[in-house]
């Protein structure tokens, strides 16, 4: 732990440095160049001085001409310059003596050389400048006619109009490309902030679902992406990556507005740059003040003035006297607090305020530049897009989030470790001096060395001894106390890590950081003696807020569970926070010791907790009830826990993490509501007994990692002992599907309502009960889950993973999902649509087989010969299940659009009227109407299923039924000769036009390996029967299948052949159907394999070969459409022509015909040409 801690801070440092470098790269490079330039000019001066000096000395001493070695070092071609110099010189000094002239000439030539050199350097400088600033260095920001960021939707419209102009777009891109950013994500966020205000942002979402407008369809979006591509970090960025960040940004834009979600109290747009990260001050250095205020937009323009200004400001700040504004800050703090308190607590108590004032004072003792007026302001940390209504919220946010700061804030150890009021008073007495005091320094020292544990122990001992004789502070409690004492709950911030370190030492007596009115920020402070300039704190100190107090209270067991989980080591801060202000926080090394303090008396758990405990004790999974409350180290498997939460173990998650933390912060306001409810609740007896002075006790729900604390449902984990590792993840599935499953798939869900659904909190009472019940049910289902077959478990796991965007597989699936949901109708035909879906499923299957993303590997669960089936099943579940409605709708609309639907309906009714004999049934008894009704019912059920395999099995049942009816009446076995006509008859009798798409769906989506089996056979038969019906009229007339059916058959055939190797879209395009038209024998068509880039010439050769044409010279390839016939030039590409024709909105029938050139009087009836049908 220590080691990782050290390295993580080191890593963080590096990242920050990198970010800074990135950010100011242009500036620095410019500076360097200027330095070089000035160096050059200095040298010039020096040289000219030298020259004059030498000339002087020459004159005085009359030295003969001498060459100065220094000047001759350069390899410049002197001779070339000699001539003109000579002339000039001669003209200038005609009267000079020859010796003088020679030396002068030499000097002048040297001067010229220097000048040349300087010019060359200028050129280099220019080039470099261009390289640094893009090609637009001469264009000014001022040329932008748009005021950024856009404040209203009208402005957005204007911008859109403005961007219609290419030049304007270019200007915009070049302007925006200078926004900077340390990472792609950072850069995108900066861009978004530069362009959109949060109010506009909250009116948009990516695809434009709900009431919002689509951002994707704006020109601005394209411009932003182009701008991103121009930034040094964004060069490699994909549009997908960009879109992801934008989606998130938009999703949370409403919440960033005021830190309070959609609540839109108007606040004057006064924004303060708040604590500016400072390197060498003692402790906090907050720079607050309008003079350095920056709007998000302007802050993203990294120009030198800005940067230096900020730097100046911070430097100034540490020299300035802070005492004046300090009290103002406290003032505003306490006002804010009392406001908040009144909001949250029905019965306000004076001492709370006092205490918090004290606390706030400590926290903010070094702040300065406080806004003196108390009018509502927006506070935001420099570089952050999240503004807050008040300082308190900001601090609270900083305690839980690393959005701006590289670490979360923590309470100074001296305060958090305080056990008695006297302790705190002692601290309070110190006032601002606290930061220099021994109390503070002790912990500081513990920060910087690695052996923090001992230090902490000492510290703890000391603080304990301090408080030995005094009464315990009533308002600080151990978690266990908090655990069991249910008060009229107040909001409480707990740093779990914090708790842990203390409590690991002394379980029952350690204090939690909760205090006062429950508005407890865990703030850590350091009188940093760091010489590096920045100190780093591990990001672990994540604060868990109790969101739904009564909820957690009634779920003691859950809390225990979440408490019992030791925080997994966190990766180093994955993001560089460059140029963002941050608060100096001393680094605390938190020993990751066990969580023995969780061993709390059983009777202290809440009723439901006990219930659940007993519940689990009767579960077959052999977990003794005690185990529940004892620390159970849970494997960190968070990647699977919540599909909505990316794997936090990897740094890839950091973005989502951030946003989720914002969610959390957002829900703070929502939590108030819950708190209000909580306040009305009666206290638990256990809590009554404690010496209650002034505080309200808080409910907490503690989680030890930020990722888990992101949404409250995640704190409900099953006791690990009760259900082995995988069971509990599967248990959560229901819950998560319900709460978050949808949200993952589409961002519009989130953007339409706050992530924490407020409705759940409206009625805390009933809500709790339901929740509690749910918990039990979940436990029961957990028992069953542990009995699940490995196959089901594997499927479940894959499905879970597919919903987890944090995994590659998950993001692939989810992206495809959203792509399909939006672009289903972009496909050319239903077949094509289904084929792409099938292809995707096959690809995903082979990806899962080859990748190691599944953990445990599927091979460990499933015997090898069944893996494919299991994967197929999983694919159906995670891809087809959500896509089925979309696909069905698309298939239907294709049919309607192409008129197939109408034709099918007509033909069906026509066929329905026919007698069995007319359908080719001969001998066997056709099913009676009752049986037909039964079959209809089965088909109806079939259409409800999403899995093609299950559909097929229902189809088989229908076929079986038909066989039974046939055989029962004759006692003999029927082959296809009898069955196929019967099936056709039955299908006609059923009169279900929707069956056509059903069959299509099955045929295209069924695992290709099953197509040779019985399912494939009857599916083929059903398809054939359906095509016969579809073309009933035509068939009646011509007894031949329509060209269309033939084409689809061939297409299907292609798919089968394509399945041999890895399917790819190209396979479907590698065929060209060419008809040979002979005057005497009509048309013969062949499907030829033609590469996409094959020329007409090559195709002609192929045709000559395949059709065995005697005189290929006299034949040529023609493109026939309804109106025209045109000979294709030898250098054209038939496949391209085909693709072009296909991509037209209305596909007219067209044919490639290979025929004699002379034969111009082609009068083939369209029927004959139609579909290149081969005469039978």
């Amino acid at each position: 732990m220590e080691g990782s801690n050290g390295s993580s801070s080191k890593w963080a440092m590096e990242r920050r440095m990198e970010g800074l470098v990135n950010k100011h790269m242009a500036d620095m490079a410019l500076e360097t160049l200027q330095q070089r330039l000035s160096a050059v000019s200095q040298e010039m001066n020096h040289l000219s001085a030298e020259i004059s000096r030498r000339e002087d000395s020459k004159r005085v001493q009359d030295f003969p001409r001498r060459t100065e070695p220094h000047f001759l070092v350069g390899s410049f071609p002197e001779s070339s310059n000699e001539e003109p110099v000579d002339e000039k010189k001669l003209m200038a000094n005609t009267s000079s003596s020859s010796a003088e002239t020679a030396s002068q000439r030499k000097i002048i030539s040297l001067l010229l050389e220097i000048k040349e050199e300087q010019q060359r350097q200028w050129a280099v400088l220019k080039d470099l400048q261009v390289m640094i600033q893009g090609h637009m260095c001469e264009e000014d920001v001022e040329t932008l006619e748009i005021d950024l960021p856009l404040q209203t939707m009208e402005q957005l419209d204007e911008t859109e109009r403005y961007l219609e102009n290419d030049g304007a777009q270019k200007r915009m891109v070049s302007h925006l490309s200078r926004m900077g950013g340390a990472t792609v994500d950072d850069a995108v966020r900066r861009l978004m902030q530069a362009v959109l205000s949060f109010s506009v942002g909250s009116e948009l979402n990516w695809v434009g679902r709900g009431q919002k407008r689509s951002f994707r369809n704006t020109r601005l979006q394209g411009v932003l992406f182009r701008a991103l591509k121009k930034t040094p970090v964004g060069k490699e960025a994909t549009h997908h990556q960009f879109a992801d960040v934008v989606k998130k940004w938009l999703r949370f834009a409403p919440f960033r507005q005021g830190g309070s979600g959609r609540r839109q109290h108007y606040k004057p747009p006064v924004e303060f740059m708040c604590p500016n990260y400072n390197t060498d001050t003692e402790g906090w250095s907050c720079v607050l003040g309008p003079d350095i205020a920056e709007s998000p937009g302007s802050s993203t323009q990294p120009n030198r003035q800005n940067a230096s200004m900020a730097a100046d400001a911070s430097v100034k700040s540490c020299q300035m006297d802070r005492s004046g504004s300090f009290f103002k800050l406290i003032n505003s703090f306490s006002t804010e607090i009392s406001e908040l308190k009144q909001e949250m607590v029905q019965t306000a108590r004076e001492p709370d305020t006092k205490l918090l004032q004290g606390l706030a004072g400590e926290c903010s003792s070094d702040c300065e530049g406080l806004p003196s007026d108390r009018e509502p302001v927006h506070l935001l940390l420099e570089g952050s897009g999240i503004s807050f209504a008040d300082l308190f919220r900001l601090v609270a946010f900083c305690c839980i989030s690393r959005d701006v700061l590289p670490f979360t804030l923590k309470l100074p150890e001296a305060i958090s470790a305080a056990k008695t009021t006297t302790d705190l008073e002692e601290v309070a007495k110190l006032g601002i001096e606290f930061w220099h005091s021994k109390l503070c320094q002790t912990e500081t020292s513990s920060v910087l060395d690695g052996s923090a544990v001992q230090q902490r122990v000492k510290q703890a001992e000391r603080s304990t001894s301090l408080g030995d004789n005094s009464t315990p502070i009533p308002h600080t409690r151990t978690p266990s106390q908090l655990e069991c004492s249910q008060s009229n709950g107040a909001l409480c911030f707990i740093n779990p890590l914090f708790l842990q370190t203390h409590l690991s030492e002394r379980a029952s007596t350690k204090t939690a950081t909760s205090s006062a009115s429950g508005e407890n920020c865990a703030l850590s402070h350091s009188s940093s003696s760091s010489t590096q300039g920045r100190s780093h704190v591990r990001p672990e100190s994540v604060l868990r807020r109790a969101i739904s107090t009564d909820y957690t209270r009634n779920k003691g067991f859950n809390r225990e569970e979440s408490l019992s989980r030791s925080p997994p080591p966190r990766p180093p801060p994955p993001r560089t926070i460059s140029r963002r202000s941050a608060i100096i926080i001393k680094q605390k090394s938190m020993p990751e010791t066990g969580v023995s303090w969780i061993k709390m008396p059983q009777e202290k758990t809440s009723l439901l907790g006990r219930l659940s405990t007993s519940f689990s004790s009767i579960s077959p999974s052999s977990s003794p009830p005690k185990k529940i409350s004892s620390p159970i180290p849970m494997p960190s498997r968070r990647g699977k826990r919540a599909p909505s939460i990316p794997d936090v173990d990897g740094q890839l998650c950091h973005l989502a993490l951030e946003d989720q933390i914002i969610e959390q912060a957002v829900s703070q306001s929502l939590a108030k509501q819950a708190l209000r409810n909580a306040a009305t609740d009666s206290r638990s007896p256990a809590e009554e007994g404690s010496p209650v002075g002034q505080e309200r006790l808080s409910d907490i729900s503690i989680s030890t990692s930020s990722s888990d604390s992101l949404d409250y449902s995640n704190s409900f984990t099953l006791p690990a002992a009760a259900s082995p590792s995988r069971a509990d993840s599967s248990l959560e599935e229901e819950e998560e599907e319900e709460d978050f499953g949808v949200g993952v798939e589409s961002d519009q869900e989130l953007s339409m309502e706050p992530p924490f659904k407020p409705k759940k909190r409206h009625n805390a009472g009933t809500f709790v009960l339901q929740r509690a019940l749910k918990g039990h049910l979940r436990k029961v289902s957990g028992v069953f889950n542990s009995l699940m077959t490995p196959e089901k478990r594997a499927v479940k796991r894959i499905v879970e993973q597919s919903q987890n965007k944090g995994t590659y597989f998950g993001s692939l699936v989810q992206d495809y999902m959203s792509y399909m949901q939006e672009n289903c109708s972009c496909h050319e035909s239903g077949f094509e649509l289904l084929q792409t879906v099938r292809q995707f499923m096959t690809q995903m299957k082979s990806y899962l087989l080859q990748s190691s993303e599944l953990n445990p590997p599927i091979e460990s669960l499933i015997p090898e010969d069944q893996i494919d089936q299991v994967l197929e099943k999983a694919m159906h579940k995670c891809i087809l299940k959500p896509l089925k409605p979309v696909v069905e709708a698309a298939l239907y609309s294709f049919q309607v659009r192409t008129g197939v639907w109408q034709q099918l309906k007509e033909n069906l009714s026509l066929a329905k009227a026919k007698q069995p004999q007319e359908m080719g049934v001969d001998g066997a008894m056709p099913p009676d109407p009752v049986a037909i009704e039964k079959i209809r019912h089965k088909f109806h059920n079939m259409s409800k299923l999403y899995s093609p395999e299950k559909k097929v099995s229902l189809l088989l049942r229908v076929c079986k039924l038909i066989y039974t009816i046939m055989e029962d009446n004759s006692g003999r076995m029927y082959g296809a000769d009898d069955f196929l006509p019967m099936l056709t008859y039955v299908l006609a009798q059923c009169d279900m036009p929707e069956l056509d798409t059903e069959i299509q769906y099955m045929m295209e989506l069924l695992d290709p390996s099953l197509l040779h089996g019985e399912g494939g056979y009857y599916l083929t038969s059903a398809y054939g029967a359906m095509s016969l019906i579809k073309n009933f009229q035509e068939e009646q007339a011509a007894r031949v299948l329509s060209s269309e059916t033939r084409n689809t058959l061939h297409q299907w055939h292609r798919r089968r052949t394509a399945q041999r190797s890895i399917p790819s879209v190209d396979d479907f395009q590698n065929y060209l159907r060419v008809a040979l038209q002979e005057p005497d024998s009509g048309c013969t068509a062949k499907t030829l394999q033609v590469r996409p880039y094959a020329t007409t010439e090559e195709v002609c050769q192929l045709c000559a070969e395949k059709f065995k044409v005697q005189d290929p010279d006299k034949h040529a390839l023609f493109l026939l459409t309804e109106e025209s016939t045109q000979q294709l030039a030898p250098d054209t590409h038939p496949q391209k022509i085909k693709a072009e024709l296909h991509s037209r909105p209305q596909i007219l029938p067209f044919y490639f015909v290979y025929r004699r050139i002379q034969n111009l009087n082609l009068t083939a009836p369209s029927d004959e040409l139609n579909g290149n049908s081969v005469p039978v």
């Binding site: 099995s953 049942r957 029927y974 082959g975 000769d977 040779h1012 089996g1013 009857y1018």
Partner: protein, 194 residues
């Protein structure tokens, strides 16, 4: 022993006894009441061949003219096609020739074609001389055999000779299933059977 699934397609005029041959082959006698598959149109049987097991997935087709156009769906992907004619009906032999032609043109490349002259037991009303049929079969390099489904004559032999003609696994790409063998092996039993 490796199990290879071989799709076999039955072609031929209606009434020539396609189904009967297969029923005989699969069930060893007519009108067996217990069928592993739901109907006689699709039957399977596994036979050993060398060191492999060949599982024949036999796709019956409807011989009526009106269903002719559906045939490509059935014979695609087939490892073998059994074209059946009735030795007592010359027409059925003419149809057979059409089938052969179509298979050569549109069928799978390496399809094994077997020509079966059924109803060998009705030799007295024979219309198609064995010699003609045999010559034709030789001209197209097809397996030729005269069978009697009723008397169970040469039915086994028909499928055995098909088995022998199927190229061994190593160098085959006849069956599209085979190329997937490395990564997955379709279960031998048709698990979608009700």
């Amino acid at each position: 022993m490796a199990i290879r699934e071989l799709k076999v397609c039955l072609l031929g005029d209606t009434g020539v006894g396609k189904s009967s041959i297969v029923c005989r082959f699969v069930q060893d006698h007519f009108d067996h009441n217990i069928s592993p598959t739901i109907g006689a149109s699709f039957l399977t049987k596994t036979v050993p061949c060398g060191n492999e097991l060949h599982k024949f997935l036999i796709w019956d087709t409807a011989g009526q003219e009106r269903f002719h156009s559906l045939a490509p769906m059935y014979y695609r992907g087939s490892a073998a096609a059994v074209i059946v004619y009735d030795i007592t009906k010359l027409d059925s032999f003419q149809t057979l020739k059409k089938w052969v032609k179509e298979l050569k043109e549109h069928g799978p490349e390496d399809i094994v074609v077997a020509i079966a002259g059924n109803k060998n037991d009705l030799g007295d009303i024979r219309e198609v001389p064995t010699k003609d049929a045999k010559e034709f079969a030789e001209s197209i390099a097809a397996i030729f055999i005269e069978t009697s489904a009723r008397n169970a004559v040469n039915v086994e032999e028909l499928f055995q000779s098909i088995s022998r003609q199927i190229p061994p696994l190593e160098n085959t790409d006849v069956d599209s299933n085979e190329s997937f063998k490395i990564t997955r092996q379709p279960p031998p039993s048709a698990r979608r059977c009700c």
